[in-house]
Amino acid sequence: MAVASNTGLGRALFGAALGLFASTSITANAAEQITFVSQGGAYQKAQTVAILDPSAKKLGITINQDSIPDAWPVIKSQVASGKPIWDVVDVPTGYCLRGGEQGLIEKLDFSKIPNAAAMPEAYRNAYSVAYEFYSSVLAYSQKKYPEGATPNSWADFWDVKKFPGRRALRNHPIATLEAALMADGVAPEKLYPLDVDRAFKKLEEIKPNITVWWTSGAQSAQLLNDGEVDMVMAWNGRVSALTKEGAKVAYTYNQGILQSTSLCILKGAPNLATAVKFLNEAVDPVHQANLPLHIDYGPANPKAFDTGVVKPERVAQLPSAPDNAKKQALMSYAWWASPDGEAAEKRWVSFVQK
């Protein structure tokens, strides 16, 4: 991560320097363009086919792409330089909110983004609009827990007597505190504001049985695949990738934590107007419906399910499909961006360290 953000910073500085020379010549070139940044890999490839290329074609613009695993430090440095080179970023929704509050992200005018205005209010905020959904789910080894004896809730995950075995959780409070509270009996729709003390107390209970606190999605999948752990909280796409390779693993959407990445625009973005146009196009129901044809993430615009593009059996696999969504807890990024949320995040290291 450190390397990647350094490159990004370098590029930002280089780009800023280049921008001084380029700004005069761009006006001569009529074609509108934006720089779009996501997280790379299979995920960015899927978006390119499903959303980015079709949007570019429809709007008649050029979409330059960049990718970085963790965009946050680069957003900070680009905006601080006064001459950002990125326009639109696809990042965990919390970063858009935090960035908005810190003046790093442009406020959106939803009258110019009609597609987003039609989305549920919980899927957007003043600075960003949800782009795709994934879920933090309970995944398990089918070898260890065969049919009929599978863990199905966070209470089961916490129940080491009924479900003996090794466990892993993410080395991060986001979604983990939610799971702890659900294990303690809090209903998915009554989670927020999180009772942080209660969550950490519940986590202390399971801590001796946690073999690994994982840091990357790839690691969570590898742990389950190698039999290093029998049960893990992981992102649905990582687990379904394993099942496609034939691994004997499964997951449940029951009590999953539904999370999103969102699109937001850097403060002072060089192509603000085009960026807003792109934002609207990116959440167009048809483009959105195309995304799950290429990767295991769910559309952020529920109207995508009305387009008929996604077949019913595929819909059943998607985290944001209405039937799956209602079994899950919708993450409140607003809470995590609040002072209480930030305090909970700071408390985490002290918890895993002891």
Partner: protein, 270 residues
């Protein structure tokens, strides 16, 4: 001489002194002078715990590297030339593989279904797989492996210069091999020991890859706190202050060691 050195000095100034200076400046200046970042490090327990863990792990790694590295360097310094080249080549060979790849290799070896556990179970020595990784143990094993060349090379450089006549002279006066080793060879090799241990200890203090990949999330060494603070706080200073404290600790160690041994010897000049 100065003219010849000036391009190198310029590079050092541009690539090391300026960025480090900028880093230090960020840690005390954010919309005005502030010691908030240092106050946090002093007052919050996580920093104390991480620094203490990092120093403990570094000491352990250094000790293990010395115990493993000393016999290797000794062997390389006493065997005929051809053999010593082979031994040193084997020590340096892992250098050509990235530390990241080696850390993953250790994961494959040490995990529950890994080679080591399966072999031990096959032999019937253990029934249940041992927890060899995702903890401090795995971190230490891999770190020792990665840092071992930094111990062996300075040791070898020193040992190779010890005249073997001295041990023969000792033997001719009736000293047993172990006596001549303890009384003559070991004391003469001490500068190499100090050089090797200092290098390994200092490198280990800032190690990131092995605790991140093999520590199971519990082994929060100082380097991990640096990256965490980048994510958690809204200014670089919160992270750079941790780096500055680590850098100052390293400098203090160098100063203390420098009182006992000329620093140029650590750098292999004499």
């Amino acid at each position: 001489m100065l003219a010849l050195a000036s391009p190198a000095l310029l590079v050092i100034l541009l690539l090391i002194v300026l960025p480090v200076g900028w880093l230090a400046w960020q840690s005390i200046y954010h919309d005005g002078f502030t010691l908030e970042n240092y106050r946090r490090i002093l007052s919050e327990a996580i920093y104390w715990r991480s620094f203490s863990l990092t120093f403990q792990i570094s000491l352990l790694v250094t000790l293990l590297a010395l115990l493993l590295g000393y016999p290797i360097a000794y062997a390389a310094s006493v065997v005929p030339k051809g053999w010593s080249v082979l031994i040193l080549a084997l020590v340096i060979l892992p250098f050509w593989t990235s530390a990241l790849v080696r850390a993953y290799a250790w994961l494959a070896l040490l995990q529950r279904t890994g080679v080591v556990n399966q072999f031990l179970q096959y032999l019937g020595i253990i029934d249940e797989p041992l927890a060899l990784v995702h903890n401090t143990f795995g971190t230490v094993v891999a770190t020792v492996h990665i840092l071992l060349p930094f111990m062996v090379l300075p040791l070898y450089a020193t040992m190779q210069k010890i005249p073997h006549d001295l041990m023969q002279a000792g033997a001719s006066l009736g000293g047993s091999p172990s006596h001549t080793f303890w009384r003559i060879f070991l004391p003469l090799s001490l500068p190499g020991v100090l050089a090797g241990t200092t290098l390994v200890f200092v490198l280990c203090l800032g190690f990131y890859i092995t605790p991140e990949l093999l520590g199971g999330g519990r082994t929060v060494m100082v380097s991990l706190l640096v990256s965490r603070n980048v994510e958690l706080y809204d200014q670089w200073g919160a992270a750079s202050a941790v780096g500055v404290v680590l850098l100052v600790s390293v400098l203090v160690i160098f100063l203390i060691v420098g009182r006992f041994i000329p620093l140029d010897r650590i750098l292999g000049q004499k």
